[in-house]
Amino acid sequence: MQILVNGEHFTTDANSLDELCKTLGFADAKIATAVNGSFVAATARARTRLAEADEIEIVAPRQGG
């Protein structure tokens, strides 16, 4: 299925958000996630199903003012 990950088109067979994060190499990374504009806690990623055209945000700590 086609989804958007951080604003870019991405093709995946991942069933869950957790699976997608692992596929992308974020298994042990310090990240936070949102699907279609809503926050998804780390503990909820495994039960969060992905659907065609979902918009995923994966963020990490960064410099800020």
């Binding site: 936070a32 996630t33 504009g37 994966i58 990490a60 700590p61 960064r62 410099q63 800020g64």
Partner: protein, 262 residues
Amino acid sequence: MLELYGTEFSSRMLLGTAGYASPDLLRQAVEASGAEIVTVSLRRESARAKTGQGFWGLIEELGCRVLPNTAGCHTAKEAITTAQMARELFGTNWIKLEVIANDDTLQPEVFGLVEAAAELNADGFDVLPYTTEDLSVAERLAAAGCEVLMPWGSPIGSARGLANKTALKTLRAYFPDTPLIVDAGLGAASHAAEVMEMGYDGVLLNTAVAKAGDPVTMARGFASAIEGGRLAYEAGIVEPRDMATPSTPIAGTPFFKIDNAS
């Protein structure tokens, strides 16, 4: 001592972590500043670069209290989701709430700001809102549960200092017991001293230090100015007056000619 949401700090400077030429320069500047609170952000992570992981290591080394921001958010919903992600990522209820109206001025979008503040406060966040100096907005934010207010001095990164001193003084007078921090727009250390002399509780800055010729020395300069301004406020500043008044006693002046003396 500066008290914010039940935690006390001896430094009254909150320092941003963006825009330094290198991570080492950032570390040195934070150390030189004596700041106990640093602001951070969250940004899209690249699977290849994993930039955020290295930055987090640096922040942990600094040992400062972390204040995540919602910079770049234009709506209450974006800011709320970003705050929720920040809470999980940084392990803190603290959030510097930014909802931006205009990309040229980076002016707070105060309607969305109040809306997001109310929802986040209800959700257990400790909200530090980046707002305008407008009293009516400040009142709405306080009513929404914000225990700290952070009015701007002038637009973010502009280094122009305090654009509306009268309104900032008004805010101070209307909120004598609420911690007030001027956030954004400061350029020179004297701007920070001015903020503190007005009785403000703290200063949040980033660009003025990060983009200075020598950020480490500038961090120290701001720290001194903030401390100096605070001491002056606590000591009680003499009211300005239009005419001169001699500081040296007149009595006993040599060669003083007393009128009508014979």
